[in-house]
Symmetry: C2
Subunit: 350 residues, 2 copies
C-alpha cells in the first residue's frame, strides 16, 4: 500500500457501490491509472474482499490505499435510511475524505439518491448555491453537450436555472474543453412568450446577468441532439424525463435494427459487410463513453457512475472527476456566482 | 360539388393550412376517401385555388364542397392575433362547422397555437374538463402508445392529470382499439415517494378514483419507448420536451447510420443487401404514419396534422379524425368524467 507516499491527485472510490462492484470499480481504476498517471486512489471498502482482487492489479495496488469498512449502502436503500444508518459505509467515508481534503474527488457507482443525500449533507453547497444539480453529457450531431439538472431537484425557480447556467458553463469548459460554451434554456417554444413562468423569468435573468455567458436563448427538445447549444439548462424533472426518453428511443431503434439485420440471409450478409461502419455508430452512441455525472454546486467534487458500469465505463467516470479537479471547476463556479451577485443590483434582473 | 347530397360523415378541412397546402391537403383527402368511403369533405379555402386542383381529383371533387374564403392564418401568426383578426379564415370557419354540427370533425395542418386557441374559443371544453390536452401516438417496442399532454398547457395540477388519464384512455380505445389500455403517470422515479407534488397527488387521485382505469402507476422516460404502458400521462411542458427530445435522438441516429453506410464501398454494399430490412425499420419509425394529434377535452373533434405533412401523412391525420368520430370519443370522455365525479365523494381522492 502507498500509505506513506505523497499523493499527487488522490481520488476516493466507493469501491463497494454499483452492480458490478468491487471488480469493475478496481479494473476501471486500473485503466484510469494508465490514462492519468498522476492519480492515486483511496479505496473505501472491505479489505478482505479488495486485497485478493488487487493481487491481479499490481500497478493499482501500488497506487492505492484501502480504507476498511464492512458497511455497504444497497442499491435499494432509501436515501433517508442510508443517511441515518450509513455513517460508516464505504459511500459515506469516501465522501468525507473529500470534505477533509484527503481526496480531491469521490467517484461512486452506488445508489444515486443516497449518494446525493450524503454528498449534500457532508460537502454542503457552495456559497451562493441553494440547490445542486446533476450534470452529464449527451451526444449531438456536432459532438456532445452538457445537460443539467438531470434529477437532483424536481422543481427549480428562475434563479436556480440561472445558477445551473453558470455551473453548466463551468462544466462544459472543464469537460468539453470549450472556451465559450453556448447556453440554451429548454422550453416548449422558441418564442420569448411561450413556456412556464419560471423559465421565462430565467430567460430574463440570464440575459440581463451582466456575466459573460454565451446565452443562445430558448431551445426545444429536438435542439438537444441537434447540437444547437453546448449547455442545456432545465429543471431536474424535465431533464430526467428527457434524458431517459431519449435513451428509450435509442434502445427502440437499436432493437428495430437488430431485428431487421437478423430477418433474412441478405440482411445478415449486409450487416457483416457494413460491420465496420455500424461499429462506428455503436461507438458514437456508447453511453459508457459518457459515463460520469457530476453533482454540481457542492463544496467538493462528487461524480456518480452508472450503477451497471463495467470497467471501461467506470474508468470514464474517474476521468470526468480528474478533468473537474484539474480545471478547478468549483473555484470557477464560486467566482462566477460572486461576480454575478456583484454585477446585478436589485431590480436589474427582473 | 356535392352541396345537395346528404353527407354521411362530413369532415371539415382547413384546406389552406400547412406548409404544403392546399396541394397535399387535397391529395391526402383523396387518399382518405379511398380508405374511408363513407366520408365527405367541406373544404375551407380559396375557391379559385382549390377548384383547378380538384379537376385532377374527380372522386374528391364529387365528395366535397368548397366553402370559399380568402383569409389564411400564417404559420407565424401569433395565436392572439389570429383569434382577433382571423374570424373569416379557413381555420376559423372550418372549426365553426364542427360547433354548428355541419361537420363531425375538423383537420388542419396550420399554425398549432392558433388552431388550439381558436378551437378552445369556438368549441369550448367538455363539461367537467377545465384544460384540453394534445394527444398523439408514439412508437414502442410493443407497438404504439398514446402520450398526452404534448403542449396544450405548460402546467397541470393533479386533477388535470387525472382527467388526462381518462381522456387518454378513451383515445387509446378509439385509435389503438384497446379494450383496457394500461395507464402510466410519467415521473422521475418509480417509487411512490419521488417526484413532483402534483404528480404524487395525481397518483393517489387516479388510484382512488373508483373508475375502471387500468392504472399501472408511475413510469419513467425510458418506459415510453419500452411500451410499458399504453397511455403516458404527463403535463404539457414535460410531454412536449420528451416528444421533441426523442424525435431529435431518432434523427441523430438516422444521421449516424446514413453517414456510416456511405463511409466505404463495403458498407454501401451492405446497405444495398440490407435495404429491404432497413426499409422495415424506416417504416416503423415513419412519423407520417402517426400523424394526427387530437385536441382532447373540447366539445368537438379537432385534429392537428404536422405542418410539413405530405399527402400520405395528411391522410393519416384524417384517419385519426374518422376513428375518433366513429368511436364517439367525446361521449365516452363525458360519461367517464361524470361517473368519476359521482364515484368520488369529497375527501376520497385525497
Amino acid at each position: 500500500m502507498s500509505a506513506g507516499k505523497k499523493l499527487q491527485l488522490p481520488i476516493a472510490l466507493d469501491a463497494m457501490g454499483g452492480d458490478n462492484a468491487p471488480a469493475c470499480v478496481l479494473r476501471g481504476a486500473a485503466m484510469a491509472l494508465v490514462r492519468h498517471p498522476g492519480i492515486r486512489f483511496l479505496l473505501y471498502g472491505n479489505r478482505y474482499i479488495l486485497e485478493p482482487l488487487l493481487i491481479e492489479l499490481p500497478q493499482l495496488k501500488a497506487a492505492s490505499e484501502i480504507v476498511h469498512t464492512e458497511i455497504v449502502i444497497a442499491g435499494d436503500d432509501k436515501p433517508s435510511v442510508a443517511v441515518r444508518r450509513g455513517r460508516n459505509s464505504s459511500m459515506w467515508m469516501s465522501i468525507e475524505s473529500v470534505r477533509d481534503n484527503r481526496c480531491c474527488a469521490i467517484v461512486s457507482a452506488g445508489n444515486t439518491g443516497a449518494l446525493m443525500a450524503m454528498s449534500k449533507l457532508i460537502l454542503r453547497t457552495l456559497p451562493g448555491i441553494s440547490r445542486p444539480a446533476i450534470a452529464a453529457l449527451f451526444p449531438t450531431l456536432r459532438g456532445e453537450c452538457v445537460m443539467l439538472d438531470l434529477g437532483a431537484n424536481v422543481e427549480s425557480d428562475a434563479k436556480d436555472l440561472y445558477r445551473f447556467a453558470i455551473m453548466g458553463d463551468a462544466f462544459a469548459r472543464a469537460v468539453l474543453g470549450l472556451s465559450r460554451p453556448k447556453i440554451g434554456l429548454l422550453n416548449v417554444g422558441s418564442e420569448e412568450l411561450k413556456g412556464r413562468d419560471e423559465v421565462k423569468e430565467a430567460y430574463q435573468v440570464i440575459k440581463n446577468s451582466g456575466r459573460a455567458l454565451n446565452f443562445h436563448g430558448f431551445i426545444e427538445g429536438n435542439d438537444i441532439a441537434e447540437g444547437t447549444v453546448d449547455v442545456v439548462v432545465t429543471d431536474g424533472f424535465t431533464g430526467n424525463v428527457a434524458l431517459k426518453t431519449a435513451e428509450g428511443a435509442a434502445r427502440l431503434i437499436r432493437t428495430y435494427l437488430k431485428d431487421a439485420f437478423n430477418s433474412s440471409p441478405f440482411s445478415k450478409t449486409g450487416a457483416v459487410l457494413a460491420a465496420g461502419a455500424l461499429k462506428v455508430v455503436k461507438d458514437k452512441l456508447d453511453d459508457r463513453k459518457r459515463n460520469g455525472a457530476m453533482f454540481l454546486g457542492l463544496n467538493g467534487i462528487a461524480v456518480k457512475s452508472h450503477g451497471g458500469a463495467d470497467a471501461f465505463s467506470f474508468c470514464n467516470a474517474i476521468s470526468v472527476a480528474v478533468e473537474l479537479v484539474v480545471h478547478d471547476i468549483n473555484t470557477r463556479i464560486t467566482q462566477e456566482i460572486n461576480l454575478s451577485v456583484e454585477a446585478t443590483p436589485a431590480g436589474e434582473t427582473a
